[in-house]
C-alpha cells in the first residue's frame, strides 16, 4: 500500500497538458485539449458558463475523473492515473458533502483519522483549524446544525486538515446568499494569502473570479479560451466570447486594478 502524504512540505505547481475528457462514449466532449500551468501557491479561477467543462477539469485534478488523453502533473510528477485518495488534494464540494452523522470536529478530523494519525495530533490540528476558520466553539455541533456559511468553513477545514499540496473548490459560494458570499470571498482571499496553498476554484461568476484569483482561466464548451491575470483579461479579453462573457461585469462595475487583485466595486444598482 502506498503511504499517504499526511504533511505536504510545500504547495505544488500544477501542470495540465493536452487534457481531454468525453462522456457518453465519446459523444460529449466535456474537456477538449486543455493545457494550463498553475504556479505553486497561486489561486486560479476556472471561469465559464454551465456545461463549459470546468467542474470536469476540477474533478480530473482531484482524481475523481480520469482524462481520456493528456497528462496532469503536480510538481513535475505525473499523477494522471493516481486515484483521489493518493493525490494529497483538498476538495470542497459544491454541496459541501459533509458527513451528516459526524460532528463538526469529527468531520475535520476525518482525513487524519483515515490516515491513522496519533490522537493528540488530530486534536491539535482540529483546534488549529477551528480557530483558523473562525468557527471556534462549533466543534461539538452536528453539521446539520450550522449555517450555510459555517458549513462552508467546515468543508474548507476538512479539505485543509491533512495539509494538502493542492486545494480544489467547486463553486464554493454557490449555495450562499449574496451577503455571506461577499464576506466569505474576502475571507477566503485573505486565507489564501496566508496559507499560499495552490488553489483552483470553479465559478460561473465572473465578478467572483476576477475579485479573488491570481489567474483566471476562461472555459467555453470544454476549450480553454484564455488564461491570464484578472488585470490582463479585463484589459485585453482576446476573444469575442471572453469579451461577451465578461461584459456583464464590465458594464456594472468599476475596476481599480491595485496590485495582485482587482478590486471590483459595483455601481449603485438602480431601483
Amino acid at each position: 500500500m502506498t503511504a499517504l502524504p499526511s504533511r505536504s512540505t510545500a504547495p505544488a505547481a500544477i501542470d495540465i497538458r493536452n487534457v481531454s475528457k468525453a462522456f457518453a462514449h465519446g459523444a460529449l466532449a466535456a474537456v477538449a485539449d486543455v493545457s494550463l500551468r498553475i504556479p505553486a501557491g497561486q489561486l486560479l479561477a476556472l471561469l465559464g458558463p454551465s456545461g463549459s467543462g470546468k467542474t470536469t477539469l476540477l474533478r480530473i485534478l482531484a482524481g475523481l475523473e480520469f482524462p481520456d488523453a493528456g497528462v496532469v502533473q503536480f510538481d513535475g510528477v505525473d499523477v494522471t492515473d493516481r486515484p483521489a485518495r493518493l493525490r494529497g488534494v483538498g476538495f470542497v464540494f459544491q454541496s459541501y458533502a459533509l458527513f451528516r452523522h459526524l460532528t463538526v470536529a469529527e468531520n475535520i478530523a476525518f482525513p487524519l483519522r483515515v490516515r491513522h494519525r496519533p490522537r493528540n495530533e488530530i486534536r491539535a490540528r482540529v483546534e488549529e483549524l477551528l480557530v483558523l476558520m473562525q468557527i471556534e466553539g462549533l466543534g461539538g455541533r452536528r453539521v446539520t446544525q450550522v449555517s450555510g456559511g459555517q458549513a462552508q468553513r467546515v468543508a474548507l477545514a476538512r479539505a485543509l486538515a491533512p495539509h494538502p499540496a493542492v486545494l480544489l473548490l467547486d463553486e464554493p459560494f454557490g449555495a450562499l446568499d449574496t451577503e455571506v458570499r461577499q464576506e466569505l470571498r474576502e475571507w477566503l482571499r485573505r486565507l489564501h494569502d496566508e496559507l499560499r496553498v495552490t488553489s483552483v476554484l470553479v465559478t460561473h461568476d465572473q465578478e467572483e473570479a476576477l475579485a479573488i484569483a491570481d489567474l483566471v482561466a476562461v472555459l467555453r464548451a470544454g476549450h480553454l479560451e484564455r488564461a491570464a491575470t484578472p488585470a490582463e483579461i479585463m484589459a485585453r479579453p482576446a476573444s469575442a466570447f471572453v469579451e461577451r462573457f465578461l461584459s456583464t461585469t464590465r458594464a456594472g462595475a468599476r475596476c481599480t486594478g491595485t496590485g495582485r487583485h482587482l478590486e471590483i466595486a459595483h455601481a449603485e444598482p438602480a431601483r
Binding site: 499517504l4 482531484a62 482524481g63 475523481l64 486515484p83 483521489a84 485518495r85 493518493l86 493525490r87 488534494v89 483538498g90 476538495f91 464540494f93 454541496s95 458533502a97 459533509l98 458527513f99 451528516r100 452523522h101 476525518f110 482525513p111 483519522r113 483515515v114 490516515r115 452536528r142 446539520t144 476538512r158 479539505a159 491533512p162
Partner: protein, 278 residues
C-alpha cells in the same frame, strides 16, 4: 380552550379527529385486539398453567431452534442484503434491472413453494440429495433446511430497505471520503453504512420478525419432528391441532415477546441516534 394555537395546517378539527380515530381504530382491531386475545387466552388457566406451557421441554426446544434460525438467517441476510443493495445503488452493470427484480422474488413466490424448492433440491429423491445424505449432510427435515428456507424468504427485507436509502444518499459523500484519503473499505464503514443506518435497522427488524415467525416455507422443509425440527410457529400449530388452545396461545406470547424485543432494540437505537442528533 382559551388560547388559540397556530397550526401549520388549517384542516378542520373534525378531519384531524376522524383520521386519528380511524388510524387508532384500525390499529386496535388489527393489532391491539389480537394481542389482547393472545395474552388473555394464554392466561385463561392461570399463571401456573401458562408457565408450565412455556417451560415445556418441547416448547423450549422450539424456542431454541427459532432463536438459532434467527441468529443464522439474520446475519447472513445482513451481509447479502448490504452487498446487494450497495452494488445496485453504486454501480451500473449489465443485469442490474434483472437483479433488482430477482431480489423481490421471495416476496412474489408463495412461501410454501419456497420451501418445496429446497425439498426438491436437497431431498432424498433429488439429484444431489442422496449424495449429501450419504456424506452426513442432512438438509431437508433438518435445521439446515429450515435455516436455508428462512434465509430465502427473508432475503428481500434488508436489501429492499437499504437500496432506496443508498440511492438517495448519492455518491458525493463517498467521493468526499475518497478525496479525504479514505480507502474503499474505510469509506464503506465510516460513511456509506452510517448514512444508511436507519434503513439498515428497519430491514434487520423486519427480517428478524419474519425469520422468527415464518411458517409456510419452514413447514414444508421441517418435517415437524418434535424436539428436533419444530420452530415456534410450527409448535403453535401442533398444539392448536391438538386442541390445546391455551398452550398454543402461551407459546404465541413467546413470539410476541420476541417481536417486542426486536421493536424495543430498534426504538433504543433510534432514540440513541436522535439524542446524538440533538
Amino acid at each position: 380552550m382559551s388560547r388559540r394555537r397556530v397550526r401549520p395546517t388549517d384542516d378542520p378539527a373534525v378531519v384531524r379527529w376522524v383520521l386519528t380515530a380511524l388510524a387508532l381504530g384500525v390499529f386496535g382491531v388489527l393489532v391491539g385486539l389480537p394481542v389482547a386475545v393472545v395474552v388473555a387466552g394464554a392466561l385463561r388457566h392461570g399463571v401456573e398453567a401458562y408457565l408450565r406451557a412455556i417451560t415445556d421441554p418441547l416448547t423450549v426446544d422450539a424456542l431454541q431452534l427459532t432463536l438459532l434460525v434467527v441468529a443464522v438467517a439474520v446475519p447472513v441476510n445482513i451481509v447479502f442484503g448490504v452487498a446487494a443493495a450497495w452494488a445496485l445503488a453504486k454501480f451500473d452493470f449489465p443485469g442490474r434491472a434483472a437483479l433488482i427484480t430477482l431480489i423481490d422474488l421471495p416476496f412474489a413466490v408463495s412461501p410454501v413453494i419456497s420451501g418445496l424448492v429446497f425439498v426438491l433440491l436437497f431431498g432424498g429423491r433429488s439429484l444431489i440429495g442422496p449424495w449429501l445424505i450419504a456424506h452426513g449432510w442432512h438438509i431437508v427435515f433438518a435445521p439446515a433446511g429450515i435455516i436455508l428456507a428462512t434465509v430465502f424468504v427473508t432475503f428481500p427485507f434488508v436489501a429492499r430497505e437499504l437500496l432506496p436509502a443508498l440511492e438517495a444518499a448519492g455518491r458525493t459523500n463517498e467521493e468526499a471520503a475518497l478525496v479525504c484519503g479514505a480507502t474503499g473499505w474505510q469509506t464503506f464503514w465510516r460513511v456509506t453504512l452510517p448514512n444508511a443506518r436507519g434503513a439498515l435497522l428497519a430491514g434487520v427488524a423486519l427480517a428478524t420478525a419474519r425469520a422468527a415467525g415464518e411458517f409456510g416455507a419452514v413447514s414444508v422443509v421441517s418435517g415437524h419432528i418434535r424436539g428436533r425440527t419444530n420452530t415456534l410457529p410450527l409448535h403453535i400449530e401442533i398444539l392448536y391441532n391438538e386442541y390445546d388452545f391455551s398452550g398454543a396461545l402461551a407459546v404465541a406470547t413467546l413470539l410476541v415477546a420476541l417481536a417486542l424485543v426486536t421493536l424495543a432494540i430498534r426504538w433504543a437505537v433510534d432514540a440513541h441516534a436522535a439524542r446524538d442528533a440533538a
